[in-house]
């Protein structure tokens, strides 16, 4: 068979998918490193180089009231007296406009521009750290959302200011235990307009009157929720804004002279009330500054900024309140709030130039730290910025040393420096790269199309051999080089992503073009097959049930509700498709044909190819397996975990590790259940192998099945027992227990590695027993039973020899009544020499099955103990899916006998879709969810209770834990090809229908007899599986791209995209491993035959 082309094609398809995913994710998920250093009062930021306590000088303001009105757009805050017919959201906050006009020395209103992503959490992070948070801030631990970067709240706490917080409970998650007092209210329910606001109003005024606070933060959510629910253009918005107007004016009335009031929105909203993206409607919020005492030098003038970037709030507030600017801030002080150089205000504080200098020094320090940690800021602009700063610094220091008043130019060039730093950072972190996203989408879409074409044309491709991997690779390299050259010419630097994109696109287009050509000649060559070959995109075929279910599955990824309820959705679809199988079979009259059919006896219908009794038996098997499948589906629902969005949901009790259970009775029960299912897992595997006679030989695989599988299970059971023991129960054995904690899992890992390696090295499970004296010579002796028995060439004799071996082997199996456990039980009783080969019929599937089973035990080790039940269900479901697939194809292949296997061993869509749905379903049924907090970090500490030194090992352990079901189903995917052959009806008529006297090869030996068909079918199966999974990735990529403004994008769609993409990565890698294992077995089988029949041509 053609091994290399199959593997090369699959590798290439996977590579193209990976490039598409990489490009899209690179454009969509902005990544930034967190700098975990904090500023302190001792920092040398003052003009002179002498150290001093920066916090001791009296600040401009000692107290601050920060009112955050979520989604307070600048349009809401403006007041236009000339507008006679205001819309519901216009002119509803007159207090802001009136204050600004009546008291210009005390107040200002600016547009307040947020940086994307404009979601509340990222924005709170942004205007407290002064940085530009992205979706993935590396360094942030996913398990909790607490801000670890230096921030205002932390700095306020450092200098002993009492921060009182009330409102949106997001703050409480971001700053746990940082507040002097906090009154959080639930923010999750978007439909609830009033809980948070009314909660704040109950406490706001009384707190303000009291004296036990220095900074008061109140975050109102009503406006934002009103936007999400009704949109801005709705009377409810008018009510909400009017309420806010009242709040602001009452707060102004209660302010004292030493207090600064800031009223601001965290982001705006679109006309539909959503936010998250980067359009101006979403980014432009409002900021209103007010103090009872004059702060501004005069009425608003030309020099004032048009727009205040959100990052600027942090340094401004820090310097006004007399605290150090947080370390990672890239903002710039808001100059109008500071007195010009030389005319210090009565209330003290620092001048504009001093503020700018402190600010610039802090920003420069951050830039130095960041660029030493990460490489994502372009070195060219970094060098320019550094040069700019050193120039400024020498100029400023010279001016201070000489005591002369620095020029006004210095002021503006400091400002220019700060602005350019911020712009550089923003270009690096805070912009979706639309071109990259589009390129990723295009490559993914083409990859899906290519995969589909490949799966439909696999027969022709393998037959014609027109798919040397050379041409696509060559084209890919050429287009990559062209892209690199173009970039060099245009920009002077090369970005690897674009070269990859060009390579992937080039090879995809080449393939599609050649596939088109390949398709037309086959169609024209034999006219009979033309419509079949050309018509693989007819609407009728697209509307078939499996593809419909798969389309529904992809469409479900576009709705947040369905993503949240994905576990149930997938189970529902899987169940529907499973029920469809027998219904469809019944529709074709192949499920339970009546024992005496009046139609058939009357000769009205063609006589069936298989006796009705056989079909009935298959039908009953199918129904029994369907029952098993449905049962395990239903039971698996009880192993689900809960997302926070699912209100009334109880996580499965099996998800918590045994050591956390309180009641010892329950603990024992759980333990017994887990160990029983573990034993069942091992027993079922062994039973299956034994049934097909694979346990007779003495090879490596058999050794793995006989010894390593049980040993591994024992290890697991002991490990669970040890880890469930409470620490204080066996004091004198504590050392031993500690040792067992480490040794048992590591022993299990070693056993697993040993078992997998043995399977890989010696995958054959065939036991040959010759009963006569000589084996190799006597094999040629038996009188051949084919027709032309005389004068035949040795070549032809050899050709018929191998079928004879199968025949004998099968007869032995038959005599053994499927037992196969006792070698030598069967055989022919006459004096003819005979050979018995046990397990030849399942030579391909046995190693795959065992590989899967061992891997499953290894993955189970990484899960909580209770998941053993779920894993057992997984095995049962896998088995019943395989049986359903086999039982539903057998009657069809027998009803339409094909002598030359024109249909090959093609696996239809239905089982492949079922298989991939099952993988998604068990992802949920093993307690996983597509969210970051639900990742089971404890998996990294199995066998390593004291932690790790590197990051690769724990990361791979967690990955293995998270995608356990993807891995098992991907490795087991080739079983779909083998199972119908394994379970083929004994005494089937496929051979006889062809008019041959001699028996054909049986079971999986058919694959060996038709190497081309085998390669084609394997390629087709793998590409179909890849297509289904890849299209799911494509759907979730589309969801993320289309819905990047959606309220739930960072909570639902982006995590889902990352899980789907990594799941695809893991599945494709393990699918390749599974396919390679099959090819490895094929190599072994070939060499085995060579040894058996030394001069066999094949």
């Amino acid at each position: 068979m053609k091994r290399l082309p199959v593997l090369a094609l699959l590798l290439w398809v996977c590579a193209v998918y990976f490039v598409g995913i990489y490009l899209f994710v690179g454009g969509f998920l902005l990544v930034r490193l967190e700098v975990n250093r904090t500023s302190s009062c001792g920092d040398v930021l003052e003009p002179g180089e002498e150290p001093g306590d920066f916090c001791r000088s009296p600040p401009r303001f000692s107290r601050l009231v920060l009112l955050i009105v979520d989604a307070l757009k600048i349009d809401f805050a403006r007041f236009d007296p000339g507008n006679t017919a205001p819309r519901p959201y216009e002119n509803k906050l007159p207090v802001l406009g009136e204050t600004v006009t009546s008291r210009p020395l005390q107040s200002r209103l600016y547009p307040f521009r947020a940086d994307p992503p404009t979601t509340t959490m990222q924005r709170i992070k942004g205007f407290t750290t002064g940085s530009l948070p992205t979706f993935v801030d590396v360094g942030n631990n996913f398990a909790s959302s607490a801000i670890l970067e230096d921030n205002l709240i932390h700095q306020l706490g450092q200098v002993g200011k009492r921060v009182v917080f009330m409102g949106d409970d997001t703050w409480e998650n971001l700053f746990p235990k940082k507040f002097y007092r906090s009154l959080p209210f639930p923010s999750f329910n978007v439909k609830d307009l009033h809980t948070v606001d009314n909660g704040i109003l109950q406490h706001l005024y009384s707190t303000m009157v009291g004296k036990d606070w220095d900074v008061l933060v109140a975050h109102f959510l009503g406006v934002d929720h009103c936007g999400h629910r009704f949109g801005p253009d709705h009377p409810a918005m008018a009510d909400k804004l009017t309420q806010m107007n009242g709040v602001i004016s009452s707060v102004i009335d209660r302010l004292e002279n030493d207090t600064l009031l800031v009223v601001m929105g965290d982001h705006g909203m679109t006309d539909t009330g959503d936010h998250g993206g980067e359009s101006q409607k979403e980014t432009d919020a409002a900021i209103f500054l007010y103090s009872p005492s004059p702060i501004f030098p005069g009425s608003p003038s030309q020099t004032e900024p048009d727009v205040v970037p959100q990052t600027d709030l942090v340094p401004t507030l820090a310097l006004l309140l007399g605290i150090p600017i947080p370390y990672s801030s890239v903002g710039q002080v808001l100059l109008p709030l500071f007195p010009p150089h030389g005319q210090k205000g009565a209330a003290g504080g620092i001048s504009q130039l001093e503020a700018l200098w402190i600010n610039a020094k802090q920003v420069n320090r951050f830039l130095d730290t960041y660029s030493s940690m990460a490489r994502d800021i372009p070195p060219e602009s970094l060098r320019q910025l550094r040069a700019h700063f050193s120039r400024l610094s020498s100029e400023y220091l010279a001016a201070v040393r000489d005591g002369r008043s620095p020029s006004a130019k210095l002021n503006s060039s400091l400002q220019l420096y700060l602005t350019s730093v911020r712009d550089t950072c923003r270009a690096t972190w805070a912009r979706f790269n639309h071109v990259k996203m589009a390129a990723g989408l295009a490559i993914l879409a083409l990859a899906c199309l290519m995969c589909f074409v490949l799966s439909e044309l696999s027969q022709a491709l393998i037959r014609e051999g027109g798919v040397g991997p050379k041409a696509p690779v060559l084209v890919a390299l050429m287009s990559a080089a062209a892209a690199a050259a173009a970039q060099l010419l245009a920009r002077g630097s090369v970005e690897a992503a674009w070269c990859l994109a060009a390579g992937a696109l080039g090879s995809e287009l080449l393939f599609l073009w050649r596939a088109r050509r390949l398709n037309t000649p086959t169609a024209s060559k034999n006219g009979g097959k033309a419509p079949k070959a050309a018509g693989w995109l007819t609407p009728r075929q697209l509307l078939a049930a499996p593809l419909l279910v798969w389309l529904l599955r992809c469409a479900a990824l576009l709705s947040d509700c369905y993503v949240i309820g994905e576990g149930r959705v997938v189970t529902f679809l899987l169940f529907s498709l499973a029920i469809y199988v027998p219904v469809r079979l019944n529709w074709d009259g192949l499920l339970l044909p009546p024992s005496h059919d009046p139609l058939k006896s009357a000769g009205l219908l063609p006589a069936p190819a298989v006796p009705a009794a056989t079909v009935r038996k298959e039908g009953h098997t199918l129904l029994a397996c369907l029952g098993l499948l449905v049962g395990s589906l239903y039971l698996s629902l009880s192993f689900h975990a809960c997302r926070e969005e699912q209100g009334s949901c109880q996580p499965s009790p099996f998800l918590s590790p045994l050591s956390r259970l309180q009641s010892s009775q329950l603990k024992n029960l759980h333990y017994v259940l887990s160990v029983a299912s573990l034993g069942m897992w091992a027993f079922l595997l062994r039973r299956c192998l034994c049934h097909y006679g694979n346990l007779n030989s003495s090879g490596g695989t058999v050794f793995a099945a006989r010894w390593i599988l049980p040993l591994l299970s024992v290890c697991l059971g002991l490990h669970w027992a040890v880890s469930a023991t409470p620490d204080d129960s066996f004091r004198n054995l504590s050392e031993l227990i500690g040792l067992a904690h480490v040794a048992l899992p590591r022993a299990a890992f070693c056993l697993l590695a040993l078992g997998l390696a043995l399977i890989w090295l010696d995958p054959l499970t065939v036991f040959v027993k010759a009963r006569a004296a000589a084996s190799a010579r006597s094999l040629t002796l038996p009188p051949p039973r084919y027709r032309a028995s005389t004068g035949i060439s040795p070549q032809a004799e050899l050709h018929h020899l191998i079928p004879q071996i199968y025949q004998r082997m099968r007869r032995c199996l038959d005599d053994d009544a499927g037992g196969g456990g006792e070698p030598g039980g069967g055989g022919e009783a006459d004096n003819r020499p005979a050979v018995e080969a046990y397990g030849l019929g399942t030579v391909y599937s046995a190693p795959t099955l065992l590989f899967c089973g061992l891997l499953g035990l290894g993955l189970l080790l990484l899960h909580p103990e209770g998941m053993a039940l779920s894993f057992l269900l997984l095995l049962l479901e896998m088995g019943s899916l395989l049986h359903i697939h086999a039982s539903s194809t057998l009657p069809i292949t027998h009803a339409f006998p094909f002598c030359s296997w024109s249909g090959g061993f093609a696996v239809p869509w239905t089982p492949v879709v079922l298989w991939s749905l099952a993988a998604a379903q068990f992802f949920h049924a093993t307690g996983h969810l597509p969210t970051f907090p639900s990742i089971q970090w404890s998996a990294a500490f199995v066998g390593f209770p004291d932690g790790h030194t590197g990051t690769i090992l724990p990361a791979s352990l967690v990955t293995l834990n998270t995608f356990a079901s993807h891995i098992l189903f991907a490795v087991g995917c080739p079983l779909l090809l083998f199972w119908p052959l394994v379970r083929e009806v004994r005494g089937g008529r496929a051979g006889r229908a062809c008019g041959e006297e001699g028996e054909d090869a049986v079971m999986e030996m058919r694959l060996r007899e038709n190497p081309q068909q085998f390669s084609a079918a394997l390629l087709q199966l793998s590409t179909r599986y890849l297509f289904i999974n890849g299209a799911q990735v494509f759907a979730s990529v589309c969801a993320a791209a289309i819905l990047r403004r959606h309220l739930m994008v960072w909570k639902v769609f982006a995590p889902k995209l990352m899980f789907e993409a990594s799941g695809f990565l893991v599945s494709s890698v393990f699918l390749l491993i599974g396919v390679t294992l099959v090819l490895r077995v094929d190599v072994a089988v070939s060499s085995w035959f060579k040894r058996l029949v030394p001069d066999a041509s094949r």
Partner: protein
């Protein structure tokens, strides 16, 4: 001869559809505060009852039901008893299937059972009327060559439409629109009902359109 049967079928379906209509309107007039969502179970049972009574009466009058072999009273009685038994078993069957599809097991068992009663009266009852209490025949009817008369084809279409309607009815349930018809089992039973009505219309139309291709072996 075909036209005659199609006409009979169309009028039968018209009668059944109008009974559904009456079963919706009458309680609205008689019971204060009735609405399809608000008093859903009442609507459900009234519709199921109406469909059951009218179907049985119409099919009995038309004489579609396969003729009994024996005419003894005891045999007829046993057929009626078996039909009732099958009706009940079918309710249980649908209940199980719906629970397996993901309906809550304990919380709203009454609602789930009511839905299965509705499904039974829309599908199984018709099988009982057309084919008699004979599960073998039911299985046979749902195959490509299984239909032996126009009524069998019509049965295939209505049952398929009803079940597909109920299946589609489950789709809006997880959405967060907070509409009254998203409450379990309103959307499913409405879906089943809409599917059934569609089937009532579609079956005669489809048969009329395809009457040239339809051939039945024997009857």
């Amino acid at each position: 001869m075909w036209d005659h049967e199609i006409k009979a079928m169309a009028s039968t379906h018209a009668i059944i559809a109008s009974s559904v209509f009456m079963a919706t309107v009458l309680p609205a007039v008689l019971v204060p505060g009735f609405s399809v969502y608000g008093a859903h179970l009442l609507w459900l049972y009234s519709v199921s009852g109406a469909v059951t009574v009218v179907s049985v009466a119409v099919f009995w009058l038309l004489g579609i039901t396969p003729p009994t072999k024996k005419h003894t009273l005891g045999y007829k009685l046993s057929r009626v008893v078996r039909s009732c038994l099958y009706f009940f078993l079918s309710c249980l069957f649908f209940h199980t299937v719906v629970v397996l599809y993901g309906a809550p097991l304990i919380e709203s068992a009454l609602e789930t059972f009511s839905l299965s009663v509705l499904l039974t009266s829309l599908t199984t009852l018709r099988c009982l009327c057309v084919l008699g209490p004979n599960v073998q025949a039911w299985i046979r009817v749902f195959s490509r060559h299984g239909a032996m008369s126009v009524w069998d084809t019509c049965l295939q279409i209505t049952v398929a439409c009803t079940l597909v309607g109920a299946w589609l009815g489950a789709f809006p349930i997880p959405l967060d629109w907070d509409r009254p018809w998203q409450v379990w089992p309103v959307s499913c039973s409405l879906g089943a009902m809409i599917g059934y009505l569609t089937g009532l219309v579609a079956a005669p139309a489809w048969i009329h359109y395809h009457r040239k291709q339809l051939t039945y072996k024997c009857k």
